[in-house]
Assembly symmetry: D2
């Protein structure tokens, strides 16, 4: 029997639930080289985390994440805690020889992210792997889109158009939750959802965002406190918009907002190239639209590819054509790819360096919005 | 200067207005071999038809359609009156040596329609042309669909799925207009809109409906009289549904209804073949959906062809790509094709015989609904 | 700790995999009154079922389903085997005091189905529950649709339009698998997918199909044998179409086909009522279209409800709005509802009698197609 | 009989054809207070303009536009010539006491546009009217959108998202037509199509664009000359993107491109407000999407309003519900509104000042793109 991969997870809220569903499922859907064991979950409250362990399917629980690093029976640390603690946990875990899967955004600051990249680089030499959890790369339609771009189906890329629109805080009476406080969340729509479209567009095009001009906006500046009477200040952006240049001659627009009434999880990317166009919208995540400019004149049009065929990425293991999959499957695919990489002694993607590159874009966006000027994005590879 | 084609129109209500818009426009959009002249319009009330002539752009008006047949300066009779007078006018007009364009349905009964076909056959020998106005054949997307089917892009046809759904009499207080009275309208949804989908599907496939099993339904059996107090009986069908066989091994379903709440003019046809599928919906009349089963695996999907290119049927004369056309354009295209045929000494399509074939299907549907049994459709070509 | 519900499953192919995913997951997503245990799975080949047990998460396996009935540690028999063995297993299981979840179609014949209903009726007195697995009832959008119809949002129902279209055997070289052989599958598209739309439309409207006029078609009559050289006869329908009447004055059309090129799993239902219309399409299973005729004039239109809100059926336990779910979730919801019913001592729906009613419709359809005549559907409640 | 309005048109290419179709049609569709007469058309080549007059339905033609101003039997000058001659013709026409309809963009420079506004202001005192032809305001769905925004259906506006995407010069071998040369066209995508979305969003929101950050891009810098061998330089933008602020606290993004492969005439505007969202796409110009946040929880969704009802703007004069209209109808509506305003002695909209305001935005965009900095937009009302 092959060596199992024993997982310890930190955090058990929304992301923890999604990751748990993936760890519970991945063994049963894919034929993995290493069977996954859900060893232990940690959280701040011993009682709460114990209940969560039971509900989510973890064998044990603890209120001290550091104990996970000390255990011999934990091979991988899966970090689902808020962004302000990512750096500390990841760096210590890598130093302890544990593989790390860290939710996005990698960190709340570029400085932290750089340290995490250094830690990952150091650990790599001892065969320890680090991955950042940009799960949307693992939507089959997105993976297919990447394949098609990489195969040259779009020709020379001209335009990138990306937005991530939600509406969950449109109501001014929605309370001041942690995601609306800079000291915990780092930023608002920008880091939470803008990060995804930055990562996705860099992934899909194979290009880097090199400069940006941005604006950010906080529409509702004061909200009810969640746990006590009174109001508090919103200290993050409700929306962030930016223009960008990628590589040589590609122009792009980005928008992340939590105030787009009616848009629930509208992560959309359109790429126009000299030969064709591809369009993805997460609210119809099982579809990919493709305009193939090489089709016969008179028959050209946007094709709605229902990305549910066994020949499509990740799908041979699931259901017959036309039987849709959902959001959580992206985490199963992520787990699959990570386990495969670890077993193969290969680096999983996105790496911490990829995630740092996203962070550098977000940082440039913030500075551009503050200074109202075009701002150059540093490269993760420059020191 | 080429010989003009001088038109006399009978009727000036909804269809008369649509035909007038076409006659006014066709000269200015297409380069016709015969310029069109809008000579005279007839109607029952002298005052009303005079006002209509002025509004719709006819040079003269009359309250006696027979005077049109007597005039030397009228070449074509365009019949837009209700179905119960089609036969009389068309037969006399053809006998008088006038070309005839007759709105659908050709007649209110098969017997009348057969006489009209005989009249058209007789007149053909003297170079007189007859056409029935199934305008939806002239939607560019429909014409393109026919081209693609005829070119074999669907392979062997398996399924036809057609419906024509409206909702304008859902309200039980909607009055008992002439279209709801059998003695004037002949039938209800069946003849009014069902006729269109029968014609279209026979046109698109090149096949005949050979047998049917039908049901008809009148949901609201009594309605307010339009011009006086009190209620009257609805004597036509509100909806007609039927299964059918076409040609050898094609199965089909048809539905015509005025009770499909929310569907305003949803004329839809889907044809599935061994190699692909085509789908049309009049509510998006500038689009045609095409599933091409010969595309590479993994890239197959329904393409939304925006049928607005100069290479598409009828469109080189109109606007640039992406600039839509509307309902009335189908009548301009019909006028164009009719004038071209007359000038070329050729028979326009659909012929009266084509329209009789539609009538024979409708007749079989009515009989099937009455007898609750599968009913064979006669062929127009059999005596 | 509450009493667990220990499951024994028969069969482990497509449906077995889907049910296993549900049994693995339901405990972790919903707070169930009885925790589920995946005790044992049975199959014909000891080696194959052992491998399947391992892959799908069952504690044990066996090659004799009868041993499941004899075990004290099995409370529920989940029947995922082909239709020809449903009756035998279900009847014996119920007699042995086991709850039964039986995949659809309930049986391959009305006679068998009647016996199963009798067995379920007999077992009910001892608190033993029986449910048939029409999983599509548990799509949240479908459950919402039922709520809205039941709340009268559509007013008086006029039209039902249902189809279930697939295309997996369009290629004549696709082999003669068991689903194309009458002796195993009972029927073709009719029983496999037509059964779903019959059940769904009866469920959604609360009405019974009372009479039908049908046609069936086998387009490709001979296919390569799957496991040996040569060809064999296709003995089931490739497509089945029928008109129907439901309750008093509702007219309907149904179509099930495996030859609708490009349609992968297009289970579609549209219901038109005097006040509005609802439309569902499984290929966009997270959406429900609603036309509300009571909206202000000028603002009426089909709304695309993204059925991913916590207030929607089943969804509070899953992800935030706009984060889609997939096909397999319908089985989790089914498991949830079944466990709740068992714990509450209530009858789950759909009952075996509901499933018999579907069977009676399918039987009438078959007879109608054979005799080319309108055929009355028996009621399950009549003897 | 009422006084006619006698039109003289300058130019007869694409826009001239569209305006001619409107002038030919408007009398016959709407009941106008002043009947329209198509008096004379002017162009540079006497022979060509004579042919155009015949084809487009003008009574006379001339090769000198100044003769139009001298004639007593011309009341209105309709300017459809390229932008570099707008100012001269409009100013002289207004001075000659002729009403003026001037195609957009009003002029090729702000300086010219300011002079035109001054000329219009001076002429207004003598009852002479001036209007700029932003025809897209007269799409019924756009007019409905304006009504709904003005009625407060969106609440406080938060976001505007506008693009106008075409693809007609994606091919590098497409020739260097006049629209790609700055000296004639003024700018590229920005002035040609960007102007429309600037006008529309200001019209729809009732707000002004106050500052912008822009980039422009020319993807293909050299193209074949249209009338001779060799290549020439493209001196305009292929694409222009900008972020903007409108009024107080509204953030916006704009994009105009001729390189969006597959997008033919995708003029799209989305407006998010605190209570709802409206979305328009010209490629489906008969539809308007509305998300009404005040609908009951669980039933919210984007409604596709089919804007073809008699209660919708402009449509009572056209066809029954569900019978679509096209691009050219916007010009008929524009003609209708202009004639109504002239007859009523009222100022038509958009005024030259409105068009100057658009020009000022385009000017700020150009300067922003050149200087890579946020740029304030002047107000037309400031001197």
């Amino acid at each position: 029997m092959s060596q199992p991969l024993r997982v310890g997870m930190v955090g058990y809220a929304f992301m923890g639930a999604a990751h748990s569903q993936a760890w519970r499922t991945v063994n049963h859907v894919y034929d993995l080289p290493m069977p996954v064991r859900m060893q232990v979950v940690s959280g701040r409250s011993a009682a709460a985390v114990a209940a969560a362990a039971d509900r989510l399917g973890w064998s044990e629980s603890t209120d001290d994440w550091r104990t996970l690093l000390a255990r011999d029976d934990v091979d991988l640390i899966d970090i689902c805690a808020p962004g302000d603690v990512h750096a500390e946990i990841a760096i210590e875990a890598l130093a302890a020889g544990k593989h790390v899967l860290c939710e996005k955004p990698l960190a709340n600051s570029v400085a932290e992210a750089r340290k995490m990249v250094a830690a990952a680089d150091a650990a790599r030499d001892s065969g320890v792997r680090a991955m950042c959890g940009f799960n949307y790369r693992r939507v089959p339609a997105v993976a297919l889109m990447r394949q098609m771009v990489a195969a040259g189906r779009l020709g020379t890329i001209r335009h990138v158009r990306a937005c991530y629109l939600q509406d969950w805080i449109v109501d001014p009476q929605f309370p001041l939750v942690w995601r609306l406080r800079r000291e915990v969340a780092g930023s608002g729509a920008l880091g939470d959802i803008g990060a995804h479209i930055v990562d996705l567009t860099q992934f899909l095009t194979g290009l880097r965002v090199t400069s940006v001009s941005a604006l950010t906006q906080t529409f509702v500046r004061s909200r009810p406190l969640p746990d006590s009477p009174g109001q508090g200040d919103v200290t993050v952006d409700d929306a962030a918009l930016f223009l960008a240049r990628l590589g040589d001659g590609v122009v792009a627009s980005y928008e992340a907002s939590r105030f787009a009434t009616g848009r629930k999880n509208a992560l959309r990317v359109e790429i126009n190239g000299s030969l064709g166009t591809l369009v993805f919208d997460f609210e119809r995540m099982n579809e990919l639209a493709f305009y193939d400019g090489s089709r016969p004149a008179g028959e050209q049009g946007f094709s709605r590819i229902l990305v549910t065929e066994p020949s499509h990425p990740y799908l041979a293991a699931w259901w017959p054509p036309g039987h849709l999959i959902g959001y959580e499957h992206t985490f199963v695919h992520q787990a699959h790819d990570l386990v495969q990489a670890i077993a193969a002694g290969a680096d999983p993607a996105p790496s911490f360096a990829d995630a740092l590159q996203v962070q550098l874009v977000l940082d440039a966006v913030s500075r551009s919005a503050e200074t109202s000027s075009w701002t150059t994005v540093e490269s993760a590879e420059e020191v």
